[in-house]
């Protein structure tokens, strides 16, 4: 046994752990940039409208324990668009969740952007319409470097919310 080499090896072990447990630092984001987070979870309209049943049909179904609505389960994809200063930075169609595509569609996006004044416009389409948008919101915002800017959506609260 050589105590000196042993001490050196213990020292190397400690140095390796001590250093790599906190360094080198990892640059996750540019502190000069702001980061926009867009997050929404929303159920679009169904692909097919529910068939209108007569009261008699509803009664019959209720007696048999069958569903009293006749609808195809699948929902439409959710169209979402985000513009910054008139330039589209995000445009996507979110697929509804669930094995039968009958659940809400979710969008979660995060991207860095130059800090400063910007006009941000968020749009969403959840219906069968082919042109135009069901929800649209635009606001002039001042993005602060090193901070998040969050865009959320709640249909019940009137649509998009910027904070």
């Amino acid at each position: 046994m050589n105590k000196v080499v042993q001490a050196l090896l213990y020292g190397a072990f400690a140095a390796c752990i001590g250093y790599l447990s906190a360094a080198p630092t990892y640059q996750y984001a540019d502190p000069e940039l702001a980061v926009i987070k867009l997050s929404l979870n929303h159920a679009a309209d169904r692909v097919e409208e529910c068939t209108k049943l007569t009261p008699q049909q509803i009664n019959e179904r209720a007696m048999k324990g069958e569903p009293i609505n006749e609808c195809a389960r699948a929902r439409r994809p959710l169209a979402v668009e985000l513009d910054v200063d008139g330039t589209t930075v995000l445009s996507l169609a979110a697929i509804p969740s669930g094995l039968w595509n009958d659940g809400p569609a979710s969008v979660y996006e995060r991207f860095a952007i130059e800090a400063g004044a910007h006009t941000i416009t968020a749009r969403l389409r959840d219906s069968a319409r082919e042109t135009g948008w069901d929800y649209e919101y635009s606001e002039e915002v001042d993005l602060v470097p090193g901070r998040y800017f969050t865009i959320t959506f709640r249909a019940g609260n009137g649509g998009f919310a910027f904070r």
Partner: protein, 502 residues
């Protein structure tokens, strides 16, 4: 695959030589990486229990409670916190080395697959426990981990609403997910302990404690590190602020930066593929099937020595089935037997002196019988004055020279001590050398340990008193030590010459 293993084994051999020089063969960390893993686990668990006393499990007060421990109670909880972190990091180091080493030395194939496979979920749990621990500090690093982890989890098609929404901004922050992390960080290690227990189930007398000098030295150095360089938190988490530059624990978080360049779903695929490759390694290629040890009941008196000495728990003692007046008989579990032959070396009927009837001990390897071993010893030893019993994994290829006969065994633990006495008493050799793996690092786990004890007359079957110990040389060396082995042989032959001259 064989080339990779050989290259890795060579690298380990070179690296370990330095450690062997510093720590001695018995205390070298590489011979007890698994035991060191257990040791670090217990340090992490003990320090964790202490930290939990002062830790506030609510998301709003967690940071303050960790700060209190780090600064106000730096001498106790602060040191414990650092020790908790550093022992966790050390755990990663020894576990990763353990995995590579077992692979390099081919200790995973054939019937040894069990420990390898059960070790894989352990690896995943180490990371789950470590990452959830960083989460609990609720500083900027924790915030980064929370956001990055939930975003990554969201790439799996299992969550309805993105779970990253829990950490969207300060207005949406809730304690729900944080509480889940506390739960994972407490119960994860408990489940890990269960897995660790399963991991060593096929190893009898598993080494779960490192040698005392190494244990004291290791914990000492971690305590010194904790005092000199204490673990500290980063700025408190603020979900409205983007964490820019982070002090990173690379032992646990090295994979996270990959999320910046690889889509999360793709990273899941890579990890799954990596685990799949690791899981099939024991069969790449499949090990040559070697017959398991076989019991010859007519020569077995149920003494249980084979049961006691089997390193892989492959022998069970069951009530006697042949009507003879013995209590029990051994039954070999062929799915666990690695055909090391240590049971044959333990069997008191494995004696070459036997004259009545054929030499067939109570238990032996069908493909390497004790009778063949005696015949091989007797044949052709007229000119060979030194007989070397060497294990298959040793570096003994260069030892065969004039006057030296090398007899290879799956493990030197297969050699019954009576063979040494037989060879010397019947003048089949002037000297016997037993050349095996390094002490405490037997390829078959316990072969050299049992041999040392048997030859020192501390373990049954004992070497007979009349055997001249000066004519017996035990040479325990790690792989890649052929020159040292040659030197040991030369010294032994010189010593034999001196004895003959007396």
């Amino acid at each position: 695959m064989e080339l990779i293993k050989r290259a890795l084994a060579r690298a380990f051999a070179r690296f370990e030589a330095v450690f062997e020089y510093a720590f001695g063969q018995r205390n070298t960390p590489f011979a007890c990486l698994g035991a060191l893993g257990w040791y670090f686990y217990w340090i992490v668990a003990a320090t964790g229990v202490y930290l939990y006393i002062f830790f506030d499990t609510g998301i709003t007060d967690a940071y303050a409670s960790v700060e209190y421990m780090t600064h106000d109670q730096w001498y106790a909880a602060g040191v414990m916190r650092s020790l908790h972190r550093y022992a966790s990091d050390a755990l990663v180091i020894v576990v990763v080395l353990h995995i590579f080493r077992e692979f390099a030395f081919d200790r995973l194939r054939g019937r040894r697959f069990f420990a390898w496979l059960t070790g894989l979920p352990l690896l995943a749990f180490i990371y789950i426990c470590g990452i959830s621990g960083y989460w609990l500090v609720w500083d900027q690093l924790a915030q980064y981990i929370a956001v990055a982890t939930t975003e990554w989890l969201d790439t799996l098609p299992v969550f309805g609403e993105p779970i990253a929404n829990n950490f969207l901004d300060s207005t949406t922050l809730g304690g729900r997910f944080f509480t889940l992390m506390v739960f994972i960080h407490i119960f994860g290690p408990l489940f890990m302990l269960l897995l660790m227990w399963i991991h060593i189930q096929r190893h009898s007398g598993a080494k779960v404690n490192p040698p005392r000098p190494l244990a004291i030295g290791t914990v000492g150095v971690l305590v010194v590190l904790s005092v000199v360089f204490p673990a500290v938190s980063q700025a408190p988490a603020d979900l409205d602020v983007v964490p820019a530059e982070l002090g990173f624990d690379w032992f646990y978080l090295a994979g996270y930066p990959l999320l910046d360049i690889v889509p999360g779903g793709q990273l899941w695929l890579y990890i799954f593929a990596a685990f799949l490759v690791l899981a099939v390694l024991p069969w790449m290629p499949p090990a040559k099937r070697v017959p398991a040890a076989a019991v010859n009941l007519e020569n077995c008196n149920g003494c249980t020595r084979c049961f006691d000495d089997c390193p892989f728990s492959a022998i069970n003692m069951v009530p006697r089935t042949d009507g003879r007046a013995y209590e029990s008989e051994p039954v070999v579990n062929v799915n666990q037997c690695t055909s090391c032959g240590i049971c044959a070396g333990a069997c008191p009927t494995s004696t070459p002196f036997r004259r009545s009837g054929p030499l067939q001990p109570g238990i032996e390897l069908p493909h390497r019988s004790i009778a063949d071993l005696r015949d091989e010893l007797v044949a052709g030893t007229e000119k060979a004055r030194v007989v070397i019993f060497a294990c298959d994994t040793g570096d003994t290829d260069d030892l065969e020279e004039g006057g030296v006969k090398v007899m290879r065994l799956p493990c030197v633990g297969m050699l019954p001590p009576s063979f040494v006495d037989f060879a010397l008493a019947r003048h089949y050799a002037d000297g016997i050398m037993i050349a095996g793996c390094a002490e405490g690092d037997c390829h078959h786990r316990l072969g050299n340990e049992w041999t040392i004890e048997r030859m020192a007359r501390r373990r049954d079957p004992y070497l007979r008193q009349r055997a001249d110990e000066r004519r017996l040389c035990l040479s325990w060396l790690p792989r890649g030590s052929s020159r040292r082995r040659q030197r040991a042989l030369a010294e032994f032959r010189a010593a034999l010459s001196e004895i003959d001259d007396e």
